[in-house]
């Protein structure tokens, strides 16, 4: 049964897409090396911009409206999710559901009028939960129906946090939204897997202070920080995850990290996600 990890923060530009893409790719590489019985990973991008999918399968990431994620969320009965699954270009065991910017924008407008609108994504992925080890969901930078769907569908949430005072300001709203999903939408087992400091620039004094604050406030949940590096930017420009963009000399031993700091830090995140999810159980 899949662990469904939503990467959420209603503040834009904190590294949600970068984290979702690199986490999904890293998990796919690691599981493929382990030759696990379940080694497939699925990436779902609920952000109408669809930038996450570009790094997974650029050129094949867009589909007609009726064959995209928007149809799963708005049609009754919804089309089969199974026919929409596509294989990524860089990792053979990384799959995705193609998007359509206009259709997702229309879906976002339409959703407030739909019944059971919060759980549509969950219903859509229910038939395929057994087929994947991890499902990673990227979200838009707004606390709207699309993000609520991503929270309802999730078993875990990773919250990228830009270590600045503005970056912390929206956290409380998100935490309250998660609590409401737990209480009112019967998702008591939804848990915050971690707070991930992202876009860290060492030279900025407040970065250290914010990270220290997070560690004090959330000692169990604060993850190792991800620093701002050009590798992450260039990888995305090249429509790749960072592990593909900066591979190690050899992957024979399942190595994720190379000389690139970005690969080392995201490899650490992958290891931590695997460790934390394998010590929990589905209910």
């Amino acid at each position: 049964m899949a662990f469904v990890i939503t990467v959420a923060n209603q503040k834009g530009g904190v590294g949600k897409t970068t984290t979702a893409v690199n986490l999904a790719a890293g998990l796919a590489i690691r599981l493929r090396h382990e030759k696990s019985a379940q080694s497939s990973v699925l990436l779902i991008d609920t952000d109408p911009q669809g930038h996450g999918l570009m790094a997974v399968a650029f050129g094949r990431h867009i589909a007609r409206a009726e064959e995209s994620l928007a149809a799963l969320l708005t049609e009754t009965p919804p089309p089969s999710i199974q026919k929409m699954l596509r294989q990524g270009v860089h990792q053979s065991n990384l799959f995705f559901i193609p998007g359509n910017t206009q259709a997702m924008a229309a879906a976002r407008s339409r959703m407030p009028s739909l019944l059971a609108r919060e759980s549509r994504l969950y219903r859509a992925i229910e038939p395929i939960l057994e087929q994947y080890a991890y499902i990673i969901i990227d979200t838009p930078p707004t606390l709207d129906d699309l993000m609520i769907n991503a929270l309802v569908a999730a078993t875990h949430v990773i919250i990228p946090v830009e270590p600045s005072y503005l970056g912390l300001s929206g956290l409380k709203d998100l935490q309250e939204a998660i609590e409401q999903v737990r209480l009112h939408l019967n998702r008591e087992n939804l848990r915050i897997l971690g707070y991930l400091p992202t876009r860290c620039v060492k030279q900025r004094v407040e970065v250290g202070e914010i990270i220290q604050y997070l560690k004090e406030k959330f000692p169990e949940e604060t993850l190792q920080p991800i620093h701002e590096t050009t590798d992450l930017t260039y990888a995305h420009s090249a429509h790749m995850d960072v592990f593909t963009y900066k591979p190690p000399r050899s992957r024979l031993d399942g190595r994720l990290e190379s000389s690139s700091r970005a690969t080392q830090e995201y490899a650490e995140l992958v290891n931590e996600v695997v460790r934390r999810t394998r010590t929990t159980s589905h209910s």
Partner: protein, 381 residues
């Protein structure tokens, strides 16, 4: 309401035509419509469109369509559906039996273009190797192959799209009923249907590692039918229990003969007579029955020719030729040795003839041969 007579409305009573509150009547009508809508929601079909490359026929469908060799390559993923269709078309050019079947399917494909696909293909999604899913066909395999064959024949640039209905629980019964509606299966096909339904009833699922699907159906021969199974099956198969048991017995034939019997649609009563023959005669009998369209009476009178014991060459030669050939070999051997060794050779041969025990019989024959050779030599002088 009549004067002097008061009636009270009892909400527990059924509302009669005298009830005349228009607002309440509308509410009742609205509720009925809602209930009706809810009822019909249960029956809402989810019809979608899929390409043949997103689908796969059921390997263990009792009625086979693909020819054996192509079938093995297709289900082992060596070739895809379009490559299979291409090989099938090629085969049908040489084989009249397949030609007719392929033409029927091409005609069906043509009717899709003219009139649209009337019935959707039914099936369910199953995980495929590598993390994706494929739509396994429950009913409608003929429509699937019709589309593939036509796409290959007409060299279409894009894949056709077929209407499909996703069902939550595919069943063998539905498959069997659909087979009967489409075209009555051969005796072998029907035998497989009975076997498939029995195995499904017993919860015996097909093993994907089986190389030939007939091996799955043959398991039914060794099983005892569950209590009440035959009477449950009669309305599905529309046959008596005895008839179904006769059909099941057909599966005793080995796999290659089952394929031939299926392809040529040899009737069950003919196959019954074949099975009554010694097992060594089944191969010849089936092939003859297929080739010459034998009846069951003709098979029952089938002669089993004994195996030849002579060498094939000897059977064609006369005794004179055989004797002369042997003598010539003896003469060559004797003439090839030196004069001094000839005596030794003759001693050896004489010893051997005596030891082997035919010296007394041979002696007068050799004397008779010697006198005849002398006479002919004298005549030449």
């Amino acid at each position: 309401m009549t004067k002097g007579k008061r009636t009270r409305y009892n909400p527990l009573e059924e509302r009669g035509p005298e009830f005349s509150d228009p607002a309440q009547t509308d509410a009742v009508a609205a509720m009925s419509r809602a209930e009706g809508a809810l009822e019909s929601l249960d029956k809402v079909e989810r019809i979608e469109r899929l390409r043949p490359s997103q689908m796969i026929p059921d390997r263990f469908q009792p009625r086979r369509l693909l020819p054996g060799r192509i079938r093995r390559k297709f289900f082992s993923s060596e070739i895809d559906c379009y490559q299979a269709a291409k090989e099938w078309l090629k085969l049908s050019e040489k084989d009249t039996g397949w030609k007719q079947r392929v033409q029927e399917l091409l005609d069906m494909g043509g009717s899709f273009e003219e009139q649209g696909q009337i019935k959707p293909i039914t099936g369910a999604w199953i995980p495929s190797q590598g993390g994706g899913y494929v739509f396994r066909i429950e009913t409608g395999e003929r429509r699937f192959w019709a589309a593939c064959l036509l796409a290959v024949k007409e060299k279409l640039d894009t894949e056709p799209e077929l209407r499909v209905e996703v069902v939550s629980m595919p069943t063998r019964s539905r498959q069997v009923l659909e087979n009967r509606h489409a075209q009555s299966p051969s005796a072998v096909g029907q035998a497989c249907e009975v076997a498939a339904l029995m195995l499904e009833e017993m919860g015996i699922e097909p093993d994907p590692s089986i190389t030939d699907e007939y091996d799955y159906f043959k398991q039914a021969l060794k099983k005892r039918a569950p209590r009440g199974f035959w009477s449950k099956l009669e309305p599905v198969m529309q046959y008596s229990t005895r008839r179904m048991q006769q059909l099941l017995a057909v599966l005793q034939l080995p796999l290659p003969l089952l394929e031939i019997a299926d392809r040529h649609r040899i009737p069950e009563r003919v196959l019954r007579e074949v099975i009554a023959l010694p097992e060594g005669a089944w191969d010849t009998a089936i092939k003859k029955a297929a080739r010459e369209n034998l009846t069951s009476e003709e098979v029952a009178q089938f002669e089993i020719k004994p195996k030849r014991t002579l060498r094939q060459d000897d059977a064609k030669r006369s005794p004179e030729r055989i004797a002369f050939s042997g003598l010539r070999r003896f003469a060559r051997a004797a003439l090839a040795v030196e004069e001094g060794e000839l005596v030794l050779l003759l001693d050896e041969v004489a010893d051997e003839v005596v030891v082997q025990g035919f010296a007394e019989e041979l002696q007068p024959i050799l004397e008779g041969l010697e006198s005849r050779i002398n006479a002919r030599l004298k005549a030449q002088e």
